[in-house]
Symmetry: C2
Subunit: 333 residues, 2 copies
């Protein structure tokens, strides 16, 4: 149900029956390794292209989420998925394997929460019995697509982020036990004129702030409602900008509740510069780490604000700045 101008309240509180996170070798050495269901030691996942590797990881995440949900694949009405590839081929090719009615979405790294929000909305409005939402990214496919192939060994500035090799999936339904999706706020596109694809945290921070403000306004709450508010992948640079922008807008976040998936996923000694990024970042940290913490009783109410940089290789070559967006989803135990 619409709440305010751009938010949904899910009165039936759709349940995340099962969720799964799959990661690559770098994530297996990261800070949240134990929260992944599957870690692939091979960046190629046994495939002959990185694109196929990403697709296979996404399929693994979906298969594991279905298994953990104790339902049959055929019960799922709609599969909603997005990724960073041209024409979201990782999602569409996984949808071919799954054979389910499919809604392709694109919000760059915000696709993870765009998908979860739509999935909850479909369950809450009785437009589906079971929906699966997923998102993925792969370091080598994203670098090739947006910047340079990793084999090229190009130098990266300290503001650069490390695209997560990972896929996350969640199965939602109207009945059962598990964390519940209670509301969502869909973001506007915000563009402050940054055009450097090696500084996406700074580009995306204003979009995160805009969506957090809209969420609090639409739901008439403040940050004290949540145990944890995590942006998707602002990294170190963007996280500091977001804190400062929020302060300018009169929102002083408690430092112990405001964090970023891109800051959590890797260890301090991993050479990821400003932090993790990619759809796979917010998807794996949410569907793995955060939901595990909720199931253990460590977190009761969380807000995930997935951020996305809506540029393309062509828009960058044509010297356009980077339009950004953030979608927020509230999950409660």
């Amino acid at each position: 149900m619409l709440k305010g101008h751009q938010s949904w309240i899910f009165n039936s509180k759709p349940i995340i029956l099962g969720s799964a996170a799959v990661g690559g070798p770098f994530e297996g050495n990261g800070a949240l390794a134990s929260d992944f269901d599957i870690i692939h030691e091979d960046l190629w996942v046994g495939q002959d292209s990185f694109e196929k590797a990403e697709k296979v990881m996404l399929e693994h995440a979906c298969a594991r989420a279905i298994e953990k949900s104790n339902i049959k694949k055929e019960d799922i009405n709609f599969f909603i998925s997005g990724d960073l590839m041209n024409q979201i081929t990782s999602s569409s090719f996984a949808a071919r394997t799954l054979g389910m009615p499919y809604l392709g979405i694109f919000g760059a790294c915000s696709s993870s929460m765009e998908g979860l929000a739509l999935a909850a909305q479909l369950i809450d409005s009785k437009s589906a019995k079971y929906v699966m939402a997923s998102a993925s990214s792969h370091n080598a496919t994203a670098e090739k697509q947006y910047r340079y192939p990793t084999e090229y060994g190009g130098q990266r500035p300290p503001t650069a982020q490390w695209t997560v090799t990972g896929a996350g999936a969640a199965v939602l339904c109207g009945e059962g036990v598990g964390p519940r999706v209670t509301s969502a706020t869909m973001g506007r596109v915000i563009d402050m004129g940054i055009s450097d694809p090696y500084n996406m945290g700074a580009a995306m921070a204003p979009a995160a702030v805009d969506t957090i403000e809209a969420h609090f306004r639409d739901l008439n709450i403040d940050d004290s409602y949540y145990d944890l508010i995590a942006t998707g992948d602002l990294g170190k640079v963007g996280h500091e900008i977001a804190i400062s922008l929020l302060k300018d807008h009169g929102i002083e976040m408690m430092p112990n509740i405001f964090t970023d998936c891109g800051l959590l996923i890797y260890k301090k000694d991993q050479p990821v510069f400003s932090g993790g990024s990619g759809c796979g970042c917010s998807a794996t940290v949410t569907y793995g780490h955060f939901l595990n913490r909720m199931r253990k009783g460590e977190l009761k109410r969380i807000l995930i604000v997935a951020t996305g940089a809506l540029m393309s290789p062509i828009s960058y070559q044509q010297k356009e700045s980077i339009p950004c967006i953030a979608h927020a989803v509230s999950i409660e135990m």
Copy 2:
């Protein structure tokens, strides 16, 4: 509300308050020229890149649809849009201009009806008061992206289709006067192994047939329910395959009701080989021509089955076949 496995029935029958179609010079010489709200004589639309031209056309279609709906831009809760570009930049950059909460979608040429179905679903479930759905394509941007830049002058086989330069938009709401969206069926990905990007009609026909069958099954109706059933952009080759496949599945479509947007949009003497294609094809033919015919009382019940080829330049280079999908939306007067 879910009906069957993959369809939605919209009990409140959301209303298309206003809709608009914008076309390029080739469309202005086409069979449906009089159904376009704006025809640009300049393929560049006064911009310095074809990508910007496509974005501007999409903005024009949205602006005109809002104007015809007699509402304020600020009333719109959500903007849902998709196109064929890498990372759907036409839609995302238009969303930046519009400043509305934005849901990016991708279903290749099926994006037009994926967007309309989601828009109607949001209105019907009271998740929005006003939603705008749109889609666009541009001949020169799509050819550059998927095949060769048009300046290259590459030869095309007779099975090739002509990507429509056009954008369509529709504003939906729960109250008012106009054509009403009554149901939708979301398609599965179907891939019969065709890998030739110059023969997308043949690749997409099985997906159209699968969705039409699912629509009839879920709603317990047959083709006699409709005055007109139009696929998105199968063109001549794909249309004939679809007729034959439907026959194999026991569905004998009346020839006077079963047509294809890609067969209607151009004149017989235009060199478009197998017919029109692109998100802009089903979007402009539906939001212009078909809705105009409905408003004139010539059509009462139509089913638009927008078809999409979910390949990317990379998946083609990696010799993958083309996964296809079709989403169907029913509109009644």
